[in-house]
């Protein structure tokens, strides 16, 4: 059985977001909602679902990986279109959290849908046993809970709640689909209130809010201090603003009704007075006029304000910086031990969260790994609570907690580390104190697991080479933000020599948040500031030669990027035989932002792709214009799907939806290319020279005069135009790769000597943002 068509009922934020993400997998989907009461005529019967699609096309960050995916959604309504669901393979119910409404809908679906259509609910509060009460056995056989997180495209967690009655084949089909096609991290939950992530998440957020109020701390202090522990930079109050403050009373009230009075969360479900006041005044978060943070009303300039938790009025928000705290375990322990209100606050928030999470095993999940995975993928924590506790040290924690007479659950009290590696196999501890291997799904290959088993083949400060089996190696970047520097270049060259002699192929992959943020500007800066142009030139040539060697390596090289791949990071990818990309790939040649042109072969490779695109418009200019626009505007893809459209990725490159499967997919791709592998042929470039340059120059001039390009943008893009049109060539001649690389180098060296480029570089290093001068 395969899933080829899906329906989502309920076009609210969650339902429509789930539908959009299904289209990202290339699957057609029905999106149904009710007929509005005031609908006039047949054209207005689908307006709720249609409105939701239109709204999503304007939402940022965008729920769609490509605008055209929206066409895969068919809008409808639950009165006219329910019968159409007879043909779908999976129905996801995402209607209002009302037991009666849901159950009535299920009865209709049970009648309409085929026997092998899985029906699931996206409920976040209602237990499965209540939803299936009084439903037929046939219904129970094909019903489960699939709880997505908002926004569904970006949050990887999918909580699954199954039952003993559920058909195991159906469960496998849907969970495999969610894993492989939707890219979800499936976590099996028990049928308990709030499942895993929201149970612990709500406890953590509510504790953080109540403690902040009680200890008279500012929202900025709390957000900054909690962020030290690997939670997103929004902190706690920024996160609540995102979620919507008005949701909290409902969530808390629901937990209060269904949880045991002995439960730690039950005892902290009161809604703080300040929150009630804010909600009453319409401060419900980012979706309204603001929440704990807001932009100063009526002000033309963007002035950020935050609420005073004691007084309830808004004042200028001042960024709170915590100086001198290392995020390594020793530094964090030191911070938590410090005798000041902020440290004590953070200790209370985390220590109670750790204890509460430990108390909930096995009530909400069988093991600690499920809880940690849920918090990582559902709340974007860098470490789940047990992983964080393990990092801080279980014995250290026991010592500090016992000093406060805190009662510790058995899982923690034994003092053993919660995770360990045994003979290269990662293991977790159960409540009885025994260790078990962490199970990876079939087809999941993690470099972090491989690293536990054997040492690197090659390594230096910026990169390492690992044997991932079957004759394939994995080149890993691991400098800060995985930037490119002479060390990484050196390791690429050593790796090519190594694989040529001993291996069959290479994957370039890492498990950082971002594949590579580009060239390491910090290393380049001293040479530029010192006017040491020979050194700058040698660094440029090192990159050109290294990446070219990668391109012509005697065995296949497949890159497997995820997250950002910018500048030099993008150029590495452009030189690989193939890309197996994670769907969330933000790839682009952004050098003009720092006043430069790509000079490690980026111009040459992207131009080559446009020149060789089958069915491209004829004549010399279209490929040049496309490449010029892409590099000149520093276009960055907002998904791998968009990267293909920009030709950063080739049409034949592939996309993995699930990041955990990326390495295995890339390895398989490499192996498929091994037999009869031949390095690419050396291309030639017929370019129009100065005539083509004049074409682009006329356009640049117009952009400048109309205020769309600064005077220095003109200088940079004229240099880019020189490279892309082949310099002083003629259309009747053909240039080689080396000619193009020489042009890149010449333009780079020219630009890097300009004070305006220096200003752009300095600004980027200082602020991380591009300067327009």
């Amino acid at each position: 059985m395969t899933i080829e068509k899906i329906a989502v009922i309920g076009a609210g934020v969650m339902g429509s977001g789930i539908a959009a993400h299904i289209t990202n997998a290339g699957i057609p989907v029905y999106l149904l909602d009710i007929v509005p009461k005031d609908a006039k005529g047949p054209k207005e019967r689908n307006v709720i679902a249609e409105g939701a699609i239109a709204k999503m096309l304007k939402t940022q960050p965008t729920p769609f990986m490509h605008r055209k995916n929206a066409r895969l959604i068919t809008a409808g309504n639950t009165e006219d279109d329910l019968e159409k669901l007879a043909e779908v393979d999976w129905v996801i119910e995402a209607v209002i959290e009302n037991q009666t409404i849901k159950q009535e809908l299920y009865q209709k679906l049970d009648r309409i849908c085929g026997p092998d259509t899985l029906i699931s609910s996206n409920t976040s509060t209602l237990p499965l046993k209540i939803l299936t009460a009084d439903q037929s056995d046939g219904f129970k056989r094909r019903f489960m809970i699939t709880h997505f997180f908002n926004p569904p495209r970006y949050m990887r967690l999918l909580e699954l709640v199954s039952s003993t009655e559920l058909d195991q084949q159906l469960f496998k089909t849907v969970s495999d689909f969610a894993d492989i096609r939707l890219g979800k991290g499936n976590v099996l939950c028990k049928d308990t209130p709030g499942f895993i992530a929201n149970r612990i998440g709500t406890f953590w957020m509510q504790t953080a809010v109540l403690e902040a109020i009680e200890n008279e701390l500012t929202v900025e202090q709390c957000d900054a201090a909690l962020s030290l522990f690997g939670i997103p930079n929004t902190g706690i109050f920024g996160l609540l603003d995102l979620i919507g403050l008005d949701l909290m009373p409902h969530v808390l009230n629901n937990f209060k009704q269904v949880l045991d009075p002995e439960d730690r969360l039950h005892s902290i479900t009161e809604v703080p007075a300040i929150l009630e006041t804010m909600i009453a005044e319409g401060y419900t978060g980012r979706k309204s006029k603001g929440g704990f943070y807001r932009l100063q009303p009526d002000g033309k300039a963007k002035v950020k304000q935050s609420i005073d938790l004691q007084q309830g009025d808004y004042r200028l928000s001042k960024r709170f910086k915590i100086e001198g705290v290392s995020r390594k375990p020793a530094g964090l322990r030191q911070f938590l031990e410090a005798d000041n209100p902020l440290s004590q606050y953070v200790w209370r928030v985390w220590s109670t969260t750790f204890i509460y999470a430990a108390e909930l095993i096995p009530e909400i999940a069988d093991d600690i790994d499920a809880v940690d995975t849920a918090m990582r993928l559902g709340y974007n924590w860098r470490y789940g609570p047990f992983e964080l506790l393990d990092r801080l040290g279980v014995e250290w924690f026991i010592h500090k907690a016992q000093a406060e007479q805190q009662h510790l659950p058995a899982l923690i009290a034994n003092g053993k580390s919660l995770y360990r590696s045994e003979s290269g196999i990662p293991e977790y501890q159960d409540t009885a104190g025994s260790y078990h291997p962490i199970q990876r799904a079939e087809g999941v290959l993690l470099l972090s697991d491989i690293k536990l088993q054997k040492p690197a083949i090659l390594e230096n400060a910026s990169a390492s080479l690992w044997d991932i089996g079957d004759g394939i190696v994995c080149l890993e970047f691991h400098s800060k933000m995985n930037t490119q520097d002479p060390d990484s270049m050196s390791l690429i060259q050593q790796s090519i020599a190594k694989i040529s002699a001993e291996y069959k192929g290479m994957v370039i992959y890492n498990e950082g948040e971002h594949f590579s943020a580009g060239a390491n500007l910090t290393l380049l800066a001293p040479a530029i500031l010192g006017g040491d142009w020979d050194t700058v030139k040698s660094i440029v040539q090192l990159g050109q030669n290294t990446f070219r060697a990668l391109k012509y390596a005697p065995c296949p090289v497949v890159a497997a990027p995820s997250g950002l791949a910018l500048g030099g990071g993008c150029e590495v990818l452009l030189h690989c035989d193939a890309i197996q990309a994670h769907a969330e790939l933000y790839m682009g040649l952004v050098e003009v932002g720092v006043g430069l042109v790509p000079a490690w072969g980026g111009c040459k490779e992207l131009l080559g792709r446009w020149l060789n695109l089958p069915k491209r418009p004829g004549g010399p200019m279209p490929p040049i214009v496309k490449t010029f626009e892409t590099i000149g505007l520093a276009k960055v893809s907002r998904s791998a799907q968009e990267a293909k459209e920009l030709l950063y990725m080739a049409r034949t490159d592939a996309i993995s939806m699930n990041k955990s499967r990326l390495l295995a997919d890339a390895k398989a791709r490499t192996l498929s290319m091994v037999k009869n592998y031949q390095a690419p042929e050396h291309p030639v470039y017929p370019l129009p020279g100065k005539s083509g340059w004049a074409t682009l120059a006329v356009g640049i001039d117009s952009l400048h005069k109309s205020g769309k390009a600064s005077a220095y943008d003109v200088e940079i893009t004229q240099q880019l135009a020189t490279v892309l049109t082949g310099g002083d060539t003629d259309i009747t001649q053909s240039l080689t790769e080396q000619d193009l690389l020489d042009l890149e180098l010449k333009s780079f060296i020219h630009l890097v000597q300009q004070p305006a480029t220096l200003a752009r570089l300095e600004h980027m290093l200082k602020t991380g943002k591009p300067l327009r001068n």
Binding site: P617, M621, W693, A694, T695, V698, K705, S706, G707
Partner: protein, 380 residues
């Protein structure tokens, strides 16, 4: 010498490029439909047509090869009709009329279809492979100057304020909207059927909701410090237009309508950086050749490439408001480059009849620094 008359005029709807209904229609397809309808409307025996003279400013891609000859086949017209595609940018299809008039007077044919087309959606302005001469670009860049910039130059040279430009554009919008509402445009419009079978029957560029306040909020389109905006420029447009040009004897013998007689024609040239002033010298030449004065002109169709450009021309050629573009101009109706000359000449001829007037002038500016003008007189 033989008298030459305009016997019929028709055009497609004009719709905005890249968003209007005609964006999905090829230039040759829409032109073939307009010409077939023009022939039917005029009652001419198509076998008598000597040549199809077709103006197009970017004759490449779908507008490439010799589009005129291909349209003869596409429109299933008699295979005996010859075809030539010519390019004088915005003056192309008025030039087609001039060529036909010359040929008739040379006894080189009795009847000609003079048409023009531009799909600015499907063939971008500048074409797909624009390659300027790099030496000329360095030495004399104004030869390649953008049209918007030339309008800014005229605004400066003639000290034309932004508010005057906006008032001119607003008036054009109002005149076109009134004409549309009163059904004064429907006679000339030939509904176009797209490949998908949709019928496109209405002009799409008009902005009847334009207001002075709304216009005032727009950013300058071509120069940061400039005064020319999208509202005071003619929009990129898709459309086709055609007129039937024949000898007066032929029209009489075959009982065709005679909308107007061609009295005189002229082209002229000026500096490319102020190309918009081209109509001044072209008109002066044509008036002199007709032995008439500007005051004799009862109807004037002056192509509105830009408000600033039109106002600069009006500074040198004072034309009474009630004579000028009485059904609106290109700022409101649109400006499919190759088609405009046939539209304004056909329009001027039709207006002579409708308004029962004696003389009409149709004139336009041309990129690169040229002007073109045609003087028509009523056939009593």
């Amino acid at each position: 010498m033989k008298n030459v008359v305009i016997a019929a005029y028709a055009r497609s709807p004009f719709t905005p490029a890249n968003k209007g209904a005609l964006m999905t229609v090829r230039a040759d397809d829409m032109t073939a439909q307009v010409i077939k309808a023009l022939i039917a409307k005029s009652g001419i025996d198509a076998n008598d047509i000597e040549d199809l003279i077709l103006g197009c400013a970017f004759p490449e891609g779908e507008q490439g090869m010799n589009m005129a000859r291909l349209i003869v086949s596409l429109g299933e017209l008699p295979i005996s009709i010859a075809g030539v595609t010519l390019n004088r940018f915005c003056g192309s299809s008025m030039q087609a009329i001039h060529f036909a008039a010359g040929a008739i007077q040379m006894n080189a044919g009795e009847a000609f279809i003079c048409a023009g087309v531009e799909s600015m959606s499907r063939v971008p302005m500048g074409g797909f492979n624009y390659l300027p001469n790099p030496e000329l670009y360095q030495r004399y860049p104004q030869a390649y100057m953008s049209m918007g910039e030339t309008a800014e130059n005229l605004a400066q040279k003639y000290n034309i304020s932004r508010i005057d430009q906006e008032a001119f554009a607003l008036l054009s919008q109002q005149k076109a909207y009134m004409a549309q509402q009163q059904g004064l445009l429907s006679d000339e419009i030939i509904p176009i059927v797209s490949q998908r079978g949709e019928t496109i029957a209405q002009d799409g560029c008009l902005r009847p909701d334009s207001s002075a306040a709304g216009m005032a909020e727009l950013n300058p389109a071509f120069s940061v410090q400039g005064s020319v905006t999208a509202a005071t420029s003619s929009p990129l447009t898709d459309g086709a237009a055609a007129v039937l040009v024949c000898s007066e004897d032929y029209a009489d013998t075959h009982g065709l309508d005679k909308l107007a007689r061609i009295k005189s024609i002229a082209v002229s040239a000026c500096l490319p950086e102020i190309m918009g002033i081209g109509p001044v010298s072209a008109t002066q030449k044509a008036l002199q050749r007709a032995n008439l004065t500007l005051a004799d002109m009862d109807i004037v169709e002056l192509n509105e490439a830009f408000s600033a450009q039109s106002l600069a021309v009006l500074h040198d050629l004072p034309i009474a408001a009630e004579k000028l573009n009485i059904d609106g101009g290109a700022i409101a109706l649109g400006h499919p480059l190759g088609a405009t000359g046939a539209r304004i000449t056909g329009k001027a001829a039709s207006l002579l009849q409708r308004e029962d007037k004696q003389y009409a002038l149709a004139t336009q500016c041309i990129g690169g620094g040229q002007g073109i003008a045609t003087i028509l007189e009523a056939v009593s």
